[in-house]
């Protein structure tokens, strides 16, 4: 049962229990709370009220996450924009949040990886002509895919991917140009993205590939095509 009185009210003053809660109390206050069950109980009650107020009011005056997202994407009307700008200037937490999403919020993605991820998401999926079997250990892998009028053949062996694109019914001297990118399907934080130029005969090559599962993005003219589930041993 809780004590009903302090053992020695003269030992502490108003403010000492909050100082104790924040670890700012003088040694005699710490000693008093250790001895006095009543004051220890008061500290716990203050702690509960303090924590509950923090849970309810913390950042209550900050713009909502959606308003901040609209601000980052420049989607707010002028008045709202000004209000958020003034707040962000004085609020470290909001300004850190904005800084963290600023790269994403750019109209055009700022990083190469972000641009490639967006291109990949919007690319046409190339389908295999026939189900592609997983490569046997130590053996190469080959596949043939199509997307609209584009045909892609791929071959992977010893960490090297070679491929060729051509258009169905194209003349033998048809020329191509573009780029091939290999994006990991298992991690979104790649440091380098394997890349190769597609030459005018539609050939490309990506070398020194690490083992893993990838999506191959082919940018041919203004057409983006992807091949998912490319396995490198």
């Amino acid at each position: 049962m809780a004590e009903t009185r302090c053992i020695n009210p003269g030992e502490i003053e108003e403010g000492d229990l909050i100082a104790y809660l924040h670890g700012d109390a003088a040694p005699h206050v710490v000693e008093h709370v250790a001895r006095c069950a009543f004051c220890a109980e008061q500290v716990e009650r203050l702690r509960m009220v303090d924590a509950q107020l923090l849970a309810v009011f913390y950042r209550d005056t900050c713009p909502t996450a959606e308003t901040l997202a609209d601000f980052a994407l420049n989607r707010l009307p002028a008045a709202g924009r000004l209000r958020v700008a003034v707040h962000v200037r004085h609020c470290q937490a909001c300004s850190e949040e904005l800084a963290a999403v600023r790269g994403l919020a750019d109209e055009e993605p700022s990083s190469l990886l972000a641009r490639l991820q967006e291109a990949l998401a919007l690319a046409l999926v190339a389908r295999p002509f026939a189900p592609v079997a997983a490569p046997a250990r130590g053996q190469g892998w080959q596949g043939r895919f199509e997307a609209n009028d584009l045909i892609v053949t791929l071959s992977i062996q010893a960490g090297r991917l070679t491929g060729r694109v051509r258009r169905r019914d194209a003349l033998p001297d048809a020329t191509y140009s573009g780029e091939a990118w290999l994006l990991s399907e298992t991690t979104a934080a790649e440091k380098t993205v394997p890349y190769g130029k597609i030459d005018e005969r539609g050939r490309f090559q990506l070398t020194t590939l690490a083992a893993g599962s990838y999506a191959l993005l082919l940018q041919i003219g203004d057409q983006n095509v992807k091949i998912e589930g490319v396995q490198v041993e």
Binding site: M48, D50, Q52, L53, A55, V101, Q117
Partner: protein, 198 residues
């Protein structure tokens, strides 16, 4: 104006008056990776689902047709990105709030009781409750201590450093805060809102 993009067509079908479930499933498959990338370290099954759910709800609650609201693929993707950024910020805020509470309560003797009660989705987070609390602040010094403590999570020492004009020393902040919390704790109208530790 005609929008020839096949990806846009997927969205148009998914949000048609008779929604095409296959189109929606295809959208999830197509954009799951992109949304995951936008969410960065906060990407998880739940947060990615939440982003798509917001896009879905936004159109379900809209009075104008999908094509009027989102006339191009760029417009839909802009909105999807807006949802992802909002979810990312919210997840971050929730993690931060939890971390702060944990720091405040690590020495508490009745930790579970407080944590169960100190949740923003409880009834005591309502507007009325907040107004009751704010109405109890009796002067400028109390208001400043309250705002800097709970809106911005400043310690008494930081509050004193921020407003030396109001608080000549940190003891003054301790005294004002203790007095305020004890008063709030005893308040008859508020007593039902505090954790019941009796």
């Amino acid at each position: 104006m005609c929008e020839p993009d096949p990806c846009y067509e997927l969205f148009r079908r998914a949000f048609a008056p008779c929604p095409d479930d296959d189109a929606w499933q295809f959208i999830l498959n197509q954009y799951w990776g992109l949304v995951s990338f936008w969410l960065g370290q906060h990407a998880s099954e739940d947060t990615i689902q939440e982003v798509f759910l917001r896009l879905w709800k936004a159109q379900q609650g809209a009075t104008s047709p999908f094509a009027t609201r989102f006339p191009t693929l760029r417009a839909v993707m802009g909105y999807l990105k807006r949802c992802a950024i909002a979810v990312r910020i919210e997840t971050w805020r929730e993690e931060e709030r939890r971390r702060l509470l944990w720091e405040r309560l690590r020495d508490a003797t009745r930790l579970e009781l407080v944590l169960a009660h100190a949740r923003p989705d409880q009834a005591h987070a309502s507007f009325d409750y907040k107004q009751l609390i704010l109405a109890r602040l009796k002067d400028e010094a109390e208001r400043v201590v309250f705002e800097l403590t709970y809106y911005y999570d400043l310690t008494p020492a930081e509050i004193q450093a921020e407003r030396p004009d109001l608080f000549p020393d940190v003891r003054t902040v301790h005294r004002i805060k203790e007095n305020l919390l004890k008063r709030l704790r005893r308040d008859r109208e508020l007593c039902e809102w505090w954790p019941n530790d009796r």
